[in-house]
Symmetry: C2
Subunit: 132 residues, 2 copies
DNA sequence: CAGCATCCAAAAGGATACTG
DNA sequence: CAGTATCCTTTTGGATGCTG
């Protein structure tokens, strides 16, 4: 009988899937936490936005990366893309029902960052002072 | 009088900071959501682990990236590194009080992925079928 | 306005070999 | 065991120019 796993996941039940590099969950994790994914998904958490609005809200993102990341997340079924056929076309993006399931934890996550960035920066300074 | 911001953040109160590429919060976001950051932090959520244990748990990570990411997160004050001076040395990593504040939302986040990966994969197939 | 295509520079990251 | 150092490939992503 073959060994089924190197590590006993029973000990930490909630960390299956994405910990396995062959599991599709790893790809989902990578898409969402890609450089711009979380910011895009969080921005859309407040409601639909147009391409140019997203571009203005997310500091430092290029049009190329915005377009590319949006396409990935639309493909994953987290974001819906709607084109109103006017001239010029109005394209808006919004979370799907699936994507909306992420809003809560992403919101919490960014909330933690907002509240603790000061402490992290302080820790960085202590570390840099120490290691010299 | 100078314009103070291009976008009115008042409309979406919770999305300040990390949305600004110049804010230190952006760097914190990038460190945590770096390719291996979330997996490492989540793994340590269940308790202290040694270098080799982390390496075994996280599929696909190289020693270089594990070492490098750990150093970044130790510097950020999210993880503590402890060396027991035996031969060979026993080095273990654990979340700091600061880092433990992240466990809850990361746990929720990975939980969402575990439960919805199947749907995402289905959406990907629909998308690929459509665009051909 | 909302993009796509191309080119190119920079960064990430893996493989391998070596060390206290 | 727990790394570090080096090399080298792959990926990322910005800039620019063009299109319906």
């Amino acid at each position: 009988m073959a060994v089924r796993s190197q590590v006993r996941h029973d000990d930490w039940p909630s960390m299956s899937d994405a910990f396995n590099s062959d599991c599709p969950a790893r790809e989902v994790l990578d898409h969402i936490t890609s450089r711009w994914g979380i910011l895009i998904l969080t921005a859309l958490g407040a409601g639909p936005l147009r391409f140019s609005e997203l571009h203005a809200m997310i500091g430092g993102i290029s049009e190329k990366m915005l377009s590319q990341t949006l396409r990935t997340l639309v493909r994953d079924g987290l974001i819906a893309r709607t084109v109103e056929p006017t001239t010029p076309p109005r394209v808006s993006y919004e979370l799907t029902a699936l994507g909306r399931g992420l809003t809560e934890s992403l919101h919490q996550f960014l909330g933690w960052i907002r509240q603790n960035t000061v402490e992290v920066v302080a820790a960085q300074r202590r570390y840099d002072r120490q290691n010299r």
